[in-house]
Subunit: 216 residues, 2 copies
């Protein structure tokens, strides 16, 4: 990893992506020059001081009573994240989730470039899913090397997650997006983001339990 | 919604679910009575003071040099979230993502009970996906009423999200799990959790950009 600079944390990065998404989807830089933190806060149900803090982290400062320069916000976030570049990735697991990830256009527009989809199930190999022919795991190492892939997306069953992670890391993967609930043991220089979808149930159930059901 | 008590925030609830998941998957209450915050912190890559704070929010206090009583942690989280109950839900959108959500066992074990899967595409209606026959949207209102469903899961394309949300709310849904990137405008008493998967790309790309690629 590069240098000793402070690493921007997950929550700040997630919010920066939300600002970028909302601005690029909803504002036209041709007619609007600035956006205020209170405008963003209202749209994204966030605190406006949080938004100012996040933008300050990437060196973007607003002007009082004017707001933030839209172009500056967009360009700064694009540069920080390399959104102008194509980021090749491989997906392991061609089940429903792996298929959903491989065929989702919402990722493509940000530069995620899925170059191959793998599975070890002979019944899935050869199928066309989201524009990708499902390949056998035997091809994994050569695909990663040929396309200089550094990002691996794990959509395999829980019991296969550690083995899959070890295998992609051995093949050169440095960043893993893990959709299985498994806790992976990996070398320290491998960055893993866990997308634990089941944790969302906590908030959903908590709010369901607080609803007063009318009698009858 | 009930009373005026403080609402526990999303991040605390997400972490409580992670503690619950890790403890129930990895510790055997027959042989182990306690778990320390530092043990949880190490396993989940979190700060141990954060863990003590989260557990204090739900009234669970550890003993110095001993840790937290495993049974107390489990029972408190189960009660807070109603994990012993079955939570009926409907899924709108029988594409790959809706299919993945409807067939994922990892949700079932926590009490998420998907009672029906809907789509408006005649080619999908009648298909069997993850144990559910895809139903036409015409059936939505009667299913929600019959099964007292309060939770709606939106896995529809972006452009259909607002209309789908309005329709489930009109039918009685009070909590929405939204997988589309759309910003929904809904009555204030409807709780929405947005699962914006694309925001993860920020952290993944940020770490990819910080990797020193060896020459050659």
């Amino acid at each position: 990893m590069a240098g000793q600079e402070n690493i921007i944390n997950r929550l700040t990065l997630d919010r920066l992506m939300q600002y970028y998404h909302w601005i690029t989807e909803n504002l036209d830089p041709k007619t609007e020059a600035t956006v205020s933190s209170s405008q963003l806060a209202k749209q994204l149900t966030l605190d406006d001081s949080q938004i100012r803090k996040d933008l300050a982290v990437i060196g973007v400062k607003g002007q009082r009573h004017v707001g933030f320069d839209i172009q500056e916000v967009i360009v700064s976030i694009r540069q920080l994240l390399g959104l102008s570049k194509s980021h090749p990735a491989v997906v392991l697991g061609a089940g429903r989730l792996g298929g959903a990830i491989s065929s989702y256009n919402g990722f493509v527009s940000y530069g995620l470039n899925i170059v191959a989809l793998f599975d070890n199930d002979p019944a899935k190999i050869g199928l066309m899913i989201g524009g990708h022919v499902v390949q056998p795991l035997d091809h994994l190492e050569s695909v990663i090397k040929q396309s200089n892939v550094l990002l691996g997306i794990l959509a395999v069953p829980d019991h296969a997650a550690q083995e899959s992670a070890d295998r992609v890391v051995a093949a050169g993967i440095r960043v893993i997006w893990n959709f299985s609930p498994a806790h992976l043991r990996l070398p320290e220089d491998i960055f893993v983001r866990h997308e634990r979808l089941f944790v969302a149930l906590a908030q959903l159930f908590y709010h369901l339990n607080r609803i007063d059901i009318p009698n009858g």
